[in-house]
């Protein structure tokens, strides 16, 4: 039987395989630890996980202060592509890296679906 990490790794591989414009993905805990990852080898996972957790924290604060609501998604656009952060359950975040040519609508749909799968994998192991 596959472990939780293996299941999540499979889900992330599925996400990356869904579009050639998705170049990497990772699930990061609110504590800043990588839970599962299919990030490109040149990416510093430790740095990404710390920044993602910090970003998740900032996103939560902005959502609650300005919109009195929970955070769902943060996305960053740069010249070379996008970084999408989507909350997974209460204590994790999915980080997705894409190229600048990615069709964001499709990416968001794929991210939403994979987040549900990841949420179930986390809940099943809790």
């Amino acid at each position: 039987m596959a472990s939780r990490t293996e299941k999540m790794q499979d889900i992330l591989r599925g996400l990356r395989g869904a579009s050639p414009d998705i170049i990497g993905a990772a699930v990061v805990s609110i504590d800043g630890f990588i839970v599962a990852s299919v990030l490109p080898s040149e990416v510093d996972e430790e740095l990404v996980s710390g920044m993602a957790a910090a970003m998740l924290g900032v996103g939560e604060r902005i959502s609650s202060e300005l919109m009195a609501s929970t955070m769902e998604q943060v996305y960053v656009r740069s010249e070379k592509g996008y970084v999408v952060l989507n909350a997974v359950g209460a204590d994790s975040v999915l980080v997705v890296l894409t190229t600048k040519d990615a069709k964001l609508g499709l990416v968001f749909i794929e991210v939403k679906r994979r987040c549900q799968e990841l949420g179930k994998a986390i809940a099943a192991s809790a």
């Binding site: 805990s29 609110i30 504590d31 800043g32 630890f33 430790e46 996980s49 710390g50 920044m51 957790a53 910090a54 970003m55 998740l56 924290g57 900032v58 939560e60 604060r61 609650s64």
Partner: protein, 239 residues
């Protein structure tokens, strides 16, 4: 005659020894600009470099008979000229130190409050990341990855700031640390916050987990489990 040694692996090319040495014993060498002893015979054994080196990778042997150069009365003027100022110790009184300490307390508290306010739960990752970065300044702590020895080393390293008792779990992979006396407790107490559960304490606990992670190569996280009179924190490897 005094002899200067540099532990090359510890040098972080900060260049402070090159700057401070009154007799230019050191030079920066190679593309990494690591410090190198080039005029050994000129060393007067003042040990300024030893005091200053942030990596603690410098040592001076056979300097016992030498009085520290910068503390000799006849050298005061020369030292002042090198430093281009009157030593700070001479300008400040106890009241100034007390005031400076109070300022430091307020800044630390404000910094941790700002982190909490802006980052919410995300601040834990920042605390641990700070521990990871600070670890690079303590190269001597990388000597062991075994938890009991690592904690013994950390106890020695931080003896000036806080004490802690450590109880290792049976698997020797996690430990519960009790901090009866900690400099941070005074900071939070001054702000009327309880030791241990104050935000600054939580940040510091993750900072400590970051240090342990960096030195051991394993991912430690912290959980505060007791705050009555003293902090009790469990550090365990994240599964």
């Amino acid at each position: 005659m005094p002899t200067v040694h540099i532990e090359e692996a510890g040098c972080r090319d900060c260049g402070l020894c090159v700057e401070i040495c009154p007799t230019d014993v050191f030079e920066e060498d190679g593309p990494k600009k690591l410090a190198k002893v080039v005029r050994q015979d000129d060393c007067i054994g003042c040990t300024s470099c030893v005091y200053l080196c942030p990596s603690r990778c410098l040592s001076v042997t056979d300097a016992k008979t030498q009085r520290p150069f910068h503390r000799m009365e006849s050298n005061r003027a020369l030292v002042s000229r090198f430093l281009q100022q009157v030593p700070a110790m001479e300008q400040l009184g106890q009241a100034d130190y007390d005031e400076a300490l109070k300022d430091t307390h307020v800044r630390l508290q404000a910094l941790s409050d700002a982190l909490k306010e802006i980052m919410g739960r995300g601040q834990r990752a920042v605390g641990r990341s700070a521990g990871n970065l600070a670890a690079a300044h303590m190269p001597e702590m990388y000597e062991t990855t075994e938890l009991a020895q690592l904690l013994a080393g950390l106890r020695r390293r931080f003896a000036h700031a806080f004490e802690f008792d450590a109880q290792l779990d049976t698997d020797a992979k996690s430990a519960t640390l009790t901090f009866p006396a900690c400099a941070m407790h005074k900071v939070v107490a001054a702000q009327g916050e309880p030791a241990g559960s104050a935000n600054l304490c939580e940040l510091f606990h993750e900072y400590f987990a970051g240090l342990m992670s960096a030195f051991s190569g394993k991912s430690y996280t912290s959980a505060t489990i007791g705050t009555v009179g003293q902090c009790t924190v469990k550090f365990q490897i994240r599964s």
